[in-house]
Symmetry: C2
Subunit: 454 residues, 2 copies
């Protein structure tokens, strides 16, 4: 919803953005602080993303020094660099110093070398070493996602020992939900939720409290798998281990939620042929990103035109064919998109497997057949009434049924095959499926017309 | 990925599904237990979803009594009813009894009255009253999502008092992460994470440990807003209050993650014109669900045909126009889909607001213009080479630029207007935008041809 003034808890109302811009124009620094300082960093980041480059520059100059690390880590990559460039080195150092290691990693991983150096310089040596080690893991891996600050205890300890130990620590992480149990070689052997720890007698052994469904991740595991498992198994946190099975960090559900959100966003944009990109990208970047998808579509459209060209003589004789021919292709394209979207999502959520692929294909073909028959009857009637030719009605009827069945089949089989070939089905299915439905649609309609009408 | 045998942590490998089916066919109950009992309930639910109705019936008969409540709550709604019907009342009661209140609510809210009664009968009176009260809140509200088991403490208590109190409770919830502080009227006034509680001295006052960014939700608040705020503000848990501001429950991040996942799925399916539905729906349901979207598309396609019909004489004179005309419409449709997907997502994530709507519209129009010019040059050259007519090339060029600019404009403005009118833009934008790009595409191309070629 664009306007949510009725919701008092969502802090960034459009009115506040307008007030902020008014304060910037008036160069009224106290008013700016009054408006921005109470906002959550995520909302400040949203506000910085929604205003223009010029407005952002003026705001930064006026608000100097008040941007904290959390705002930086919330900012969209496309403007994060601009904002970092506009900050004094001292302000940048100040902002970065309070972040947890995973947030610093997230902050610097998309920056260029010079800016990364500027951020790392702000850290003390120990923190810097921790961040640099995380950066040594592959991009989009569990190692990049994890937080290095772990809270662990030997598995033979009792509840009382653990609680006493925790009380003496003065650098516990901001957020932690489990005490990870380790053996003498630092291999995680289980974990105890803090709730269970607090609800147990002091002399109970920790090992006996360890939760079922304990899962660890390899630091090299793709973050996509991590997000899938957090979602599937309702994990709250999970230890990360290196290839010697030694504990190196912990991933918490809030990080997994962000990855899941990004994966979804990526799938939606890929299905629509947008690829990546965000609302704050500039015209040139956006144009470049969308170009390849449109180029693929142009090739598809030209292929469809070549099919039409085969029937130029037929069209010259019966011009009504030119009027009606886009209908069959368009209905096939839409039905195919429905099938492929269901297939692509089911593959992503691992709901479509070798166990049910044939049943799903059969279902999609049957759905195509039933809806195809329904729309074939409708369009045949429209065709007969409009152009007064019963044969044209039969041609429309047959072409529609054929193309809708093909749409259901192609919409399911193509994503499955692409996935088997390790090509992202969200990315490539659309172009293939609409090529099939366009070509079959035009060929079936014009071909049947050439045979039956002439 | 369809096959992930390389990943040992994802438990439901296709081979195991095949083994399970073999055990069912052989009526080998011990083998079935050996295969299914170690699986996570979410994986058992996935397996039950992926096999056929007949296979599921046989499996249930053989595995009798072993389906627990968590499997039921993981199951897709479309087969949950079948599974419940196949269970003995005693087994159902046994399965339901161990669930937390929010899971029971989730389980029964989509069941019919008779099955709901069967599930509620399995609960003791106190649990039943709790579930029935949750069910009294509107569907898809915070009240339905919340868990009734809350862990709270008076705000004036110290850390030591809280820890001692927790240790004497023997019915603490499975998962809790915060101690909610309440005033004497049970109004939540803050919350303390268990990590902070454990890391603090016994004589520290709880009120002083309360976290920043403490948020409460009204029980009537839509779950969509709850999920948005959990995601935006990285909440782990949040208290839910009634209209007297009294604490009535707590929502945890895992519930919010499920809602966010569902919202995303819904958006993807709506954008593709699938509406709702899942892979386990039957042919008849699926056909019915997809029919309305295809019907809207048929109307759109017929409107486009009526535009073509205006130019029947032109096409009869120059048949090449029939060959080329789908290209301009198709490119516009694709560019429009790109723009509308970005707009729909940005509206959903509250990134597109009144503060930046004009800048985004301008960007999309410019992107349409630049890509339009690029593809106009390509298609003009193709047209000239193919049909040897420079004027046809100019017609293609102009029609392409016009339609791509219109696509960028319509793709952004239509979702924004629909949102203002409180119509879900994910649901309705596609039909409107392709109607515009089809009509403008055919009209611009054929109209310019009629003027310039004849």
């Amino acid at each position: 919803m664009l306007d949510t003034p009725q919701d008092p808890q969502i802090d960034l109302e459009p009115t506040r953005t307008a007030d902020v811009l008014a304060a910037v124009t008036a160069r009224d620094a106290p008013a700016l602080h009054r408006l921005l300082d109470p906002l959550h960093p995520a909302d400040v980041a949203d506000l910085l993303e929604q205003i223009s480059d010029v407005q952002r520059g003026e705001l930064m100059a006026l608000w100097q020094g008040a941007i904290d690390g959390e705002v930086l880590s919330e900012l969209d990559e496309s403007i994060r660099e601009d904002v970092i460039d506009a900050m004094e080195p001292a302000a940048l150092a100040e902002a970065v110093r309070d972040l947890e290691s995973d947030d610093v990693v997230d902050l610097v991983e998309d920056l260029d070398a010079a800016r990364t150096e500027a951020v790392l310089d702000a850290l003390n040596d120990a923190d810097r070493a921790v961040v640099e080690q995380s950066l040594s893991y592959p991009e989009d891996s569990a190692g990049r996602l994890m937080q290095r600050e772990v809270v662990m205890a030997p598995e033979h300890w009792t509840v009382g020992q653990a609680i006493d130990h925790l009380r003496t620590q003065d650098d516990l992480p901001e957020q932690f939900y489990h005490l990870i149990l380790v053996d003498p070689r630092l291999k995680p052997t289980g974990y105890v939720s803090l709730g269970r720890l607090l609800g147990s007698k002091r002399d109970v052994e920790l090992a006996g409290l360890s939760e079922d469904g304990f899962r660890t991740f390899q630091a090299e595991a793709p973050e996509e798998d991590v997000a899938y498992q957090f979602n599937q198994y309702h994990l709250i946190s999970a230890p990360v281990v290196d290839h010697n099975e030694r504990l190196v960090g912990v991933i918490t559900i809030d990080d997994a939620m962000i990855v899941l959100d990004e994966e979804h966003e990526e799938d939606i944009l890929r299905l629509a042929g947008v690829g990546e990109g965000s609302l704050t990208d500039r015209v040139v970047e956006t144009t470049k990103r969308r170009f390849p998808w449109l180029a693929v579509n142009l090739v598809t459209a030209i292929l469809a035109s070549m099919v039409i060209a085969l029937f130029e003589d037929t069209i010259a004789t019966v011009v009504a064919l030119a009027v009606l021919m886009p209908i069959v292709a368009s209905m096939g394209g839409n039905a195919g998109t429905q099938s492929l979207t269901v297939a692509v999502r089911s593959i992503a959520t691992k709901d479509l497997t070798t166990a049910n692929v044939w049943r799903v294909i059969r279902r999609e073909v049957l759905v195509g057949l039933v809806n195809g028959l329904a729309f074939a009857i409708i369009i045949a009637i429209v065709g007969v009434i409009w152009f007064g030719s019963p044969v044209l009605g039969i041609v429309l009827f047959l072409a529609m049924v054929i193309n809708m069945v093909v749409a259901g089949l192609a919409g399911t089989v193509i994503p499955v095959i692409l996935d088997k070939l390790k090509i992202d089905p969200a990315l490539a299915s659309g172009a293939f499926v609409t090529t099939v439905t366009d070509i079959v649609g035009f060929f079936a309609f014009l071909g049947l017309a050439a045979v039956m009408l002439l």
